[in-house]
């Protein structure tokens, strides 16, 4: 019996889908059988980030309404032999096409087959959110070092505390910009973790490559040297119970001499 984890945030655009794709891929790289479930019905894009959008035949609503079997709707990612699957969301309807019981039934079914079922939650706290947490054993809350994202994360933590899942929630701080935290322009990691009172699962640095790779449909974890990719791989290892120290937030140091040479090189 596998474990289901919902990846949620409250606010949109903080990297839920990117995190789902990358944590899923990282777990698959570790040899785990993973199924990603996209519950952002009507605005699906987990399939795009994984580069599987052209393979969709059936979706989750087809399964619920009996037009397809669950196994038929699952899309296999051929890069990871038989380890990574995606259950895509429907695009032609909305979040109310699914009820909490239906979502839970599907997740429970998948848990029998897979080690991890990662549920990509839509933004907001309406029906889509309720569907996403219905079948989850645990939650990963994604936030960025912005006040608005942290506020919404706080709201979501509150909602999850009211209807507790089987396991404790964990936090991912995404899109960290080293120099802004160092300058005190952005909330730092400790501040956010303390404010939300949720244990930290990992941090992911902001990196242009994340956007570039996701545009190509290749998760960033496949880039072995990339710091953001390493952040996601560390998160996957911690999910597996390994103790991995938190990566250092390195900022490009500009010394006095390098600044001067920079002026000359410009001219």
């Amino acid at each position: 019996m596998g474990k289901s984890i919902v990846i949620t945030s409250g606010k949109g655009g903080v990297g839920k889908t990117t995190s789902s794709a990358n944590i899923g891929t990282a777990l698959a790289l570790m040899g785990k059988r993973v199924c990603l479930v996209d519950l952002d019905i009507g605005l699906r894009n987990l399939d795009v980030v994984l580069g599987l959008d052209n393979r969709i035949i059936f979706d989750i609503v087809d399964v619920v309404e009996g037009r397809a079997k669950l196994a038929q709707a699952l899309i296999k990612d051929k890069r990871f032999d038989d380890l990574l699957y995606l259950l895509p969301a429907a695009q032609n309807t909305d979040k109310t096409a699914l009820t909490e019981d239906q979502a839970k039934a599907i997740v429970d079914e998948l848990k029998k087959e897979f080690d991890y079922v990662l549920i990509d939650c839509p933004a907001g706290i309406e029906q889509g959110f309720l569907n996403a947490i219905a079948g989850a054993d645990a939650a990963i809350i994604v936030t960025t070092p912005e006040i608005s994202a942290v506020r919404d994360a706080d709201r979501v933590v509150g909602l999850l505390e009211k209807n507790p899942l089987k396991e404790e929630s964990h936090l991912i701080i995404n899109r960290i910009r080293g120099h802004m935290m160092a300058d005190g322009e952005a909330m730092d990691v400790d501040e956010i973790t303390h404010h939300l009172g949720v244990p930290l699962l990992g941090i992911v640095l902001d990196d242009d490559e994340v956007i570039a790779t996701s545009n190509r449909g290749e998760p960033i974890v496949l880039e072995s040297e990339n710091p953001a990719g390493r952040g996601y791989r560390d998160i996957a290892r911690r999910l597996e119970g390994e103790t991995v120290p938190l990566m250092k937030i390195q900022q490009p140091k500009t010394s006095f001499w390098s600044k001067i040479s920079h002026w000359f090189s410009r001219g």
Binding site: R151, D154, R155, G158, H195, G197
Partner: protein, 220 residues
């Protein structure tokens, strides 16, 4: 003992209802007694009676029936009905009003913790969270959200603690935006509603002048 006994003291007249008598009997005796009284006295002044019901709680209907009897006489009226007992519900209510309740849970964005009576708060209220109570609030925890004392309209209540990081302080119907009103730093700030119905901030050391009632109750 008679079903209804008339007593007089310096405060006025009292009608004592025997708790063992039936209500029907009381009504009969009461009418009889008032009849006699009306015949005896040729008073032109209104006379108000306190009705002591002992260990009997009169229902609203029974109260109405008593009023009905009194209304038959021109010069008599009920001042008030005073029982020696209260309902359990009222007792719990009173107890809640009198105790200081401890609250430690985190109140997050979008959550409201509703309480009754005075609250000693030791937890964390994040931005957008709200602690609301009918009584006073004493804060030792961290407040980044909203504190509301004296809900819904008790303007004699106070909020005491470190208030400078809160979003709003509300007492009764008065609201203070903390960022605008800038309460003093430190954990000894007192928020209260002054005589002009404006929410104001003072120091704990001035509580005796700000709100003597609370000061005395806290044993100062």
């Amino acid at each position: 003992m008679q079903a209804v006994v008339l007593r007089g003291n310096q405060d006025g007249y009292q009608l004592v209802l025997d708790q063992a008598a039936s209500f029907k009997e009381i009504k009969e005796k009461l009418r009889e007694l008032l009849d006699n009284l009306a015949a005896d006295s040729n008073a032109t002044n209104q006379i108000s009676f306190d009705v002591l019901s002992n260990q009997r709680l009169l229902t609203a209907e029974q109260n109405q029936q008593l009023e009905q009897i009194f209304s038959e006489f021109d010069h008599f009226q009920i001042h008030k009905v005073i029982p020696d007992v209260i309902t359990i519900e009222d007792a719990i209510h009173l107890k809640e009003q009198d105790n200081v309740h401890l609250a430690t849970q985190t109140i997050r964005n979008g959550q409201t913790l509703e309480m009754k009576g005075d609250v000693l708060y030791l937890g964390l209220i994040n931005e957008g969270g709200r602690l609301l109570t009918t009584g006073n609030i004493y804060v030792m925890g961290t407040v980044l959200g909203i504190l509301q004392a004296g809900y819904p309209s008790g303007e004699d209540k106070v909020v005491i603690g470190d208030l400078q990081h809160a979003q709003q302080i509300r007492i009764g119907e008065q609201i203070s935006i903390v960022e605008t009103d800038q309460p003093s730093k430190g954990s000894q700030t007192v928020a209260y509603v002054n005589d002009l119905h404006v929410l104001e901030y003072g120091q704990l050391s001035d509580l005796k002048t700000i709100n003597p009632k609370i000061y005395h109750r806290m044993g100062g």
